[in-house]
């Protein structure tokens, strides 16, 4: 349970809970409209982040037992578990803020599709190995600078998690990036497959950087990284890897949207049917 002080402190520039006389930000108490609005924004952010990681983690876990080689059969679920760890942090934190006795399982297993707030890219079916790897590369190239920026921001819980996530994501970029290079600069078949994956994924990348009133308010409050800063680093990472992979310059002209507002593709229902079956059929079951 998070204390009232903690909630009021979220988004203020100093992570320290102690009131500092010289702190220019007005101290807010629960019940203040701005404080509550910011709390709602933080909850929305935690759902977006948590859902991105849960759904992509689930997609990755689908490779377990099916990857093209044993080494990747372990590498992909390794990354899935990192993502799941971040999802659990987000849901656990959200549950504390909501204070309604929910657990992380309630968010993962008992929400319907329209309540999920992840971007559309992560729910797309895995396709072939090239598609999965390129999607992972895009996601990691976004999340790594995202967490790097987050380490210096105002929410102590998110900033602390960012320290751990930055290390995980550095490996995800390295692993998926090295594969992108080898597929792009590999055999004719691997080059064709990564090229097809790039065509298919390009329209889903822009949603990573999408902003709305919630994200802008959070960035202004010093809780969420500036998306332009994150995008600059994303562009540099992608450009460097694509050059080595002999892939064309990356400049998508169109971006799908809707995931952040709960408008999803047909694939999410199927994914949730498998992800949520046990808790829906046998409520409250545990290991």
């Amino acid at each position: 349970m998070v204390s009232a002080d903690n909630i009021a402190g979220i988004g203020m520039s100093a992570p320290d809970h102690a009131a500092q006389p010289q702190d220019p930000a007005p101290r807010q108490v629960p019940g203040d409209l701005p404080g509550r609005a910011q709390q709602d924004d933080l909850l929305a952010l935690l759902m977006r982040l948590g859902d991105d990681h849960l759904i992509l983690g689930h997609r990755l876990s689908e490779w377990c037992g099916h990857a093209p080689m044993l080494e990747e059969d372990l590498a992909l679920p390794n990354m899935a578990l990192d993502l799941l760890g971040t999802a659990r942090m987000c849901y656990g934190y959200a549950a504390e803020i909501e204070g309604s006795g929910k657990t992380e399982d309630d968010y993962a297993f008992l929400r319907d599709g329209t309540a999920f707030r992840h971007i559309l890219m992560v729910e797309q079916p895995n396709g072939d190995f090239a598609y999965t790897i390129l999607r992972q590369f895009f996601f990691a190239a976004f999340m790594h600078p995202f967490w790097q920026e987050m380490t210096g921001l105002a929410d102590p819980r998110l900033a602390a998690h960012a320290q751990k996530a930055v290390k995980e994501l550095a490996y995800h970029i390295r692993h998926s990036g090295e594969w992108v290079i080898r597929l792009g600069d590999g055999t004719p078949e691997s080059a064709r497959r990564i090229g097809d994956a790039l065509d298919a994924l390009s329209p889903y990348v822009g949603e990573l950087f999408e902003t709305d009133s919630i994200s802008i308010a959070l960035t202004t409050a010093g809780v969420l990284p500036d998306m332009e800063v994150v995008q600059r680093q994303f562009d540099a990472t992608v450009a460097q890897t694509f050059r080595a992979a002999t892939l064309p310059d990356y400049a998508p002209e169109f971006a799908h949207s809707g995931g952040r507002r709960g408008r999803h593709t047909e694939y999410l229902g199927h994914l949730l049917a498998e992800l949520q079956f046990m808790q829906r059929a046998y409520p409250g079951q545990s290991w």
Partner: protein
């Protein structure tokens, strides 16, 4: 794994140092296209439970191995020379673990 895949992703032997001060020990092998991918595969396959602080990978083809058919002539002669083991000495307690 098909022969074509084996050619594209040859075998690498993996050595891991469990902690600083100990020697790298052989733990197994991985298939990978090159040394960079071999290191990553070794990390993913063999260090999931915190097994190590350092990894070596070596192309399996670079290892020259003794011939199992020569096992007797290689190793039998040592079996009867137990005096080569310094096991007849009492080690003072102060020496500790040797």
């Amino acid at each position: 794994m098909s022969d074509a895949n084996s050619e594209l992703t040859p075998l690498w032997e993996v050595f891991i140092r469990p902690r600083t001060g100990l020697a790298h020990s052989h733990v197994g092998s991985v298939h990978a296209a090159d040394e960079v991918m071999a290191l990553q595969a070794a990390r993913d396959v063999y260090t999931r439970r915190g097994e190590g602080v350092s990894i070596w990978v070596v192309p399996s083809a670079s290892i020259t191995a003794s011939d199992p058919a020569q096992r007797d002539e290689n190793f039998e002669p040592a079996a009867s020379k137990i005096y080569r083991h310094p096991s007849f000495y009492d080690i003072p307690d102060d020496v500790g673990h040797m």
